[in-house]
């Protein structure tokens, strides 16, 4: 009955879905406290036991020694009978054991053995303290470290949980479990790949895109995604393998924005800023206004102008891309993913604020999310952390200017 774990938590799940902290939860909780109380009672009874029943009188200590010596004498006799010990040696041994017995009865007279007497007043007080200590210590410590209300969550109960409430990691684990059984499902891999990107599991993203391509054949989106995952995996550098993937994507669809963006980035990283700028400019002009790639290209060009092409471009692109990828998800999951990412970045910067790139990314994220107040707050914190007059601080102010947060730049 105690171990009805999966059953009990199944109830919890329903309870949680219909009404948070439903009736079953409370019932289960009551049941737990009743059982805990019963255990405590049993423990207290164990402490009281010597007082509850009549005592058998113990044998005095010297009786035990005497019995050992008697056993030794008997063993000696047996060994003599077997011929293992000569009679003269046995006599000597017997004499020695006899001497020990003699010494024993002498020493016993000195130490009064019968001093064990039941229940003085002090003893009773100790006993009462001991009995009271059991519930006091156990309930005291348990209330500090226990989590009595938390229901068990065995595998089945977890799988039955409402997916809408689960964090992204769980959804991914679910998808992985599904794909382990259905490895031929292209749509599964195609959905999972961008999610891996967002979670920072770039190697898994590479594998997932590769798998999708293997199953469904060449496809510009998959190839471009594969290339991007490879770039992310190598820390923002467009490797030869990644460039090959982008070229394959362009061969199938010469207008693929993602592939073109990264081909340009490859040029920039090779030091060929002119070629990079040409591609980005051509690309920006051909894209509709709301495309995230248009903004990315514009920023990359701006970054190129500041002669820090690699850093800013590679920083900005994936985050833009992550947002784009998020559009393929369910609304709840997307919201949670974005909020989670930004919140974790914010928290990270509160802990270690000496990170100029991080502040830049945080500003951009808040602007993109339309949370202008948060962006201004982040700018304030970033400037005070980096120092408004330091080169990093100035770069941040400049970025704030390009993002349209100029007013605060003046104030601070």
């Amino acid at each position: 009955m105690l171990f009805a774990g999966s059953d009990g938590s199944g109830k919890c799940r329903i309870g949680r879905q219909l009404a948070p902290r439903g009736k079953t939860d409370i019932e289960l909780n009551m049941f737990f406290w009743v059982l805990a109380a019963l255990l405590t009672l049993a423990a207290a009874l164990a402490v009281m036991r010597p007082f509850l029943r009549g005592l058998t009188t113990d044998v005095a200590g010297r009786e035990h020694d005497l019995s050992v010596y008697r056993d030794q004498l008997a063993e000696l006799d047996q060994e003599v009978r077997r011929g293992l010990v000569a009679e003269t040696e046995a006599a000597e041994a017997r004499a020695e054991i006899g001497r020990r017995i003699l010494r024993l009865s002498q020493s016993v007279d000195e130490s009064a053995e019968g001093s064990v007497k039941p229940g003085t007043r002090l003893a009773r007080a100790v006993a009462i303290a001991a009995v009271l200590a059991v519930p006091a210590i156990s309930w005291g410590i348990y209330s500090l470290i226990g989590s009595p209300g938390l229901p068990a969550m065995p595998l089945q109960a977890r799988l039955n949980e409402d997916p809408a409430q689960a964090p992204v990691e769980d959804l991914v684990a679910r998808a992985e479990a599904y794909l382990a059984d259905h490895p031929e499902d292209v749509r599964g891999w195609q959905t999972l790949a961008p999610v891996y990107m967002r979670l920072g599991r770039y190697s898994d993203a590479v594998a997932a895109y590769q798998r999708a391509i293997d199953l469904a054949g060449a496809n510009p989106e998959y190839e471009a995604g594969l290339g991007e995952a490879m770039v992310a995996r190598s820390g923002g550098i467009v490797t030869a393998g990644a460039e090959a993937a982008f070229n394959r994507a362009l061969a199938l669809d010469e207008k693929n924005a993602r592939a073109r963006f990264f081909i340009a980035l490859a040029r920039a990283q090779e030091g060929n800023g002119g070629a990079a700028r040409a591609i980005w400019e051509e690309m920006a002009s051909g894209l509709p206004e709301q495309s995230p790639w248009k903004a990315a290209a514009a920023r990359a060009i701006a970054g190129l102008a500041q002669d820090s092409a690699q850093a800013s471009a590679s920083e900005s692109a994936p985050s833009q891309d992550q947002l784009a990828a998020a559009q393929e998800m369910t609304p709840e999951a997307r919201q949670e993913m974005i909020e989670g990412m930004v919140a974790s970045l914010d928290a990270k910067l509160r802990e270690s604020p000496a990170d100029p790139e991080g502040w830049g990314r945080l500003l951009r994220s808040y602007v993109v999310l339309g949370r202008r107040d948060d962006a201004l707050g982040a700018l304030d914190r970033g400037l005070s952390a980096l120092g408004p007059d330091s080169p990093d601080g100035k770069a941040l102010s400049e970025l704030a200017g390009t993002l349209g947060l100029t007013d605060t730049q003046v104030n601070k």
């Binding site: 774990g5 005095a60 019995s67 077997r82 293992l84 024993l104 989590s147 068990a152 969550m153 992985e176």
Partner: protein, 662 residues
């Protein structure tokens, strides 16, 4: 809910352990019988509560309840059921819980079967047990709690370290802990006697069975650990002088010494102080072993600092118990009455020699294990003390001990007859010598060390048998009478014989593997064959295979003799456990008689698959010998004489005994 109830039961067990630690001690001071007896029901109830907590944790593992942090960190829902259960103690928190479970189990045994102990001794022993349990329960609850919960249970767990996903985890740690923790009883008896200031013949009788139990389990635990490392790590070695292994060897050496000195104390009232000291040292070494393995000190002194609470807590426990016991020993030890005198050439003398050698060997291992840690702590240098150090120090210490083992049981108490013993051992000596010479000429006429080693192993086996033969009078009396005498011998004599003969078997195995094994490393293409020690091995193919939570490349080999007879198939594989992305090797082992053919595969290269093949003659004797030793321990334990009869039961027991021998 069962998890939380288990957590609560564990906290409750702590409360009971504190009561058990304090009240009986107070009772002994106040002279109150009920207070002194309180330890017994409390110890038994405490064991029941810890067992409940442990069962709750096992259940959480079986159900893959990842709302428990510990389960999530060390389990995976795709793991086979057996490894879900054994995974419970395949991690720090769970293994500490197993440790206290066994501690409480031994405490409960003393409470249940210690009715014949003098009341103050019983009260003190249970109090010391309660003190140890309190310390470890506090440690578990506040630094290594396996019942910490997660608000949101993740869908999938992080899986257990693949090396631990093996049947070995089901056997090795429980046996080892039964050994380690079993010595806590000897320790409690020693400290209780020091508190009482009384140490007598009866004390030695009570301590011996507990020491014997712990020793037998520890022997088995070490042997199983060695065999596990042998087949799982894929290096083909059976002992690596690894600090973790040394940590289990030290209490074994000290425990073996304790076992023997307790005999002297019981029979001759001599070596009392020494026995008490050994009892304290043995458990101290067990604690030290737990500390070294559990605190992370061994991987590096610096990793110790990454989790300071845990390490400092264990260190405090160590200082408290070892320091406290030794301080008590210093104060009270001198007041214990010294025992009987004996001649150097006597059973006592032989046992003293045994004790000297064993404790020196234990000290050597201790130095070899701690010295690198000390150097690293002081100078940041990392040095490793490996097999060469131990071969140079441990082996020379152990050789004279092994040579002397057969003499011990043949010498008389008090004053022995060395020429007589030599005469009795003649047969064993010549038989072992003949075997050594024969093996010298049979093998290659070059390996004298191997021949001498084989002679030494057989000397131990024959010496042990000689003792039994002599005691039953074989050769002196008719075979019928000798047989009757043999069956009438006390079981403890058989125990001695088995333990000593088992030691000989282990020595035989170690010597033949170290000196005579053949090794071959090569790259193989499918279809290629190779020969080793009279066997041919043909590499058939490398095939992928998917297990429940791993994928593996299986290399299949066809095994045959060089004369062409087929011996079937041998599979060796490289596994990748997907959840952790960790590879393991699964060696292919074929046992033929007492010897084994051991195949382990390496990486694929353009030239083919890297294959390592060993022919290990008589390798199984190493562990079989240890099992025989363990068996000897249990046979000895069944001896009625070791189970001390209560004074009230004495007459009946004597009568039964007399009837049996007449």
């Amino acid at each position: 809910m069962s998890v939380e109830l288990g957590h609560f039961a564990l906290v409750l067990a702590l409360a009971l352990a504190l009561v058990q630690a304090l009240v009986p001690l107070l009772g002994a001071r106040l002279g109150s019988a009920p207070l002194m007896r309180m330890g017994e029901p409390v110890a038994i109830t405490g064991f029941a509560l810890i067992a409940f907590a442990f069962a709750a944790l096992v259940l959480a593992y079986v159900q893959s309840d990842f709302s428990v942090l510990n389960v999530w960190e060390n389990s995976h829902s795709a793991k086979p059921l057996l490894f879900k259960i054994t995974g419970t103690w395949g991690n720090h928190e769970g293994s500490m819980l197993l440790w206290v479970l066994i501690l409480a189990f031994f405490g409960a045994l003393v409470a249940a079967f210690g009715q014949n102990l003098p009341p103050t001794l019983r009260a003190n022993v249970l109090a010391i047990q309660g003190l140890i349990a309190s310390a470890f329960l506090l440690f578990i609850l506040f630094t290594s709690n396996p019942f910490i919960r997660l608000e949101r249970a993740p869908i999938e767990g992080r899986d257990l370290n693949p090396i631990l996903q093996d049947i070995g985890l089901a056997i090795h740690p429980p046996l080892l802990y039964l050994g380690y923790v079993g010595f806590s009883i000897s320790f409690s008896f020693a400290v209780a006697a020091l508190i009482d200031g009384r140490l007598d013949a009866a004390w030695a009788r009570w301590v011996r069975p507990w020491t014997l139990v712990a020793w037998a389990f520890l022997t088995g635990g070490i042997a199983m650990g060695s065999y596990w490392a042998y087949y799982e790590l894929g290096w083909g070695g059976f002992w690596f002088w690894d600090p973790v292994e040394n940590a289990s060897l030290m209490p074994w050496l000290a425990g073996t010494a304790l076992l023997h000195s307790a005999i002297v104390m019981e029979k001759r009232s001599a070596l009392k102080i020494w026995t008490v000291l050994l009892a304290i040292l043995t458990f101290s070494l067990s604690l030290l072993g737990t500390f070294l393995v559990r605190s992370g000190v061994l991987t590096s002194v610096h990793s110790f600092a990454t989790d300071p609470t845990r390490g400092v807590f264990i260190l405090a426990i160590l200082v408290f118990f070892i320091g406290g016991a030794l301080a008590l020993f210093a104060v009270r030890g001198a007041s214990l009455a010294p025992g009987g005198l004996f001649h150097p050439i006597s059973r006592e003398g032989a046992l003293v020699f045994n004790n000297l050698m064993l404790t020196t060997a234990a000290a050597t291992v201790l130095i070899g294990t701690l010295y690198p840690l000390l150097i690293e702590a002081i100078s940041e240098d990392k040095i490793s003390v490996g097999a060469p150090f131990f071969n140079l120090t441990f082996v020379p210490l152990f050789l004279p001990l092994l040579l002397a083992v057969p003499f011990g049981p043949l010498l008389a108490w008090k004053r022995g007859d060395l020429p007589g013993a030599l005469q009795r051992l003649q047969f064993a000596f010549w038989a072992a010598g003949a075997a050594a010479i024969a093996s010298y000429f049979l093998i290659d006429r070059a390996n004298a060390a191997a021949a001498l080693g084989i002679g030494l192993g057989l000397w131990l086996v024959f010496g042990a048998l000689t003792d039994l033969a002599f005691k039953s009078g074989i050769g002196k009396v008719g075979p019928a009478l000798a047989l009757r005498r043999l069956s009438g011998l006390p079981l403890s004599m058989f125990g001695t014989c088995f333990a000593h003969a088992g030691l000989g078997l282990t020595v035989l195995g170690i010597v033949s593997v170290t000196a005579l094994q053949a090794e071959k490393i090569l790259t193989m293409q499918p279809g290629q064959s190779t020969e080793i020690s009279g066997y041919t091995l043909r590499f058939v193919d490398l095939r992928p295979f998917t297990g429940p939570n791993y994928t593996e490349d299986r290399a299949e080999f066809a095994l045959g003799t060089t004369r062409g007879a087929s011996l079937g198939e041998l599979v060796s594989s490289k596994r990748l456990y997907t959840a952790r992305g960790m590879p393991t090797t699964e060696a292919g082992i074929r046992t033929m008689g007492l010897s084994q053919l051991y195949v382990s595969i390496g990486d694929r290269t353009p030239a083919g698959l890297v294959v390592r093949i060993w022919w290990k003659p008589f390798v199984t004797l190493i562990w079989a010998g240890a099992l025989v030793m363990m068996g000897g321990g249990f046979i000895s334990l069944m001896d009625r004489r070791l189970r001390v009869g209560a004074p009230a039961r004495r007459k009946a027991a004597l009568a039964a005994d007399g009837g049996g021998t007449r």
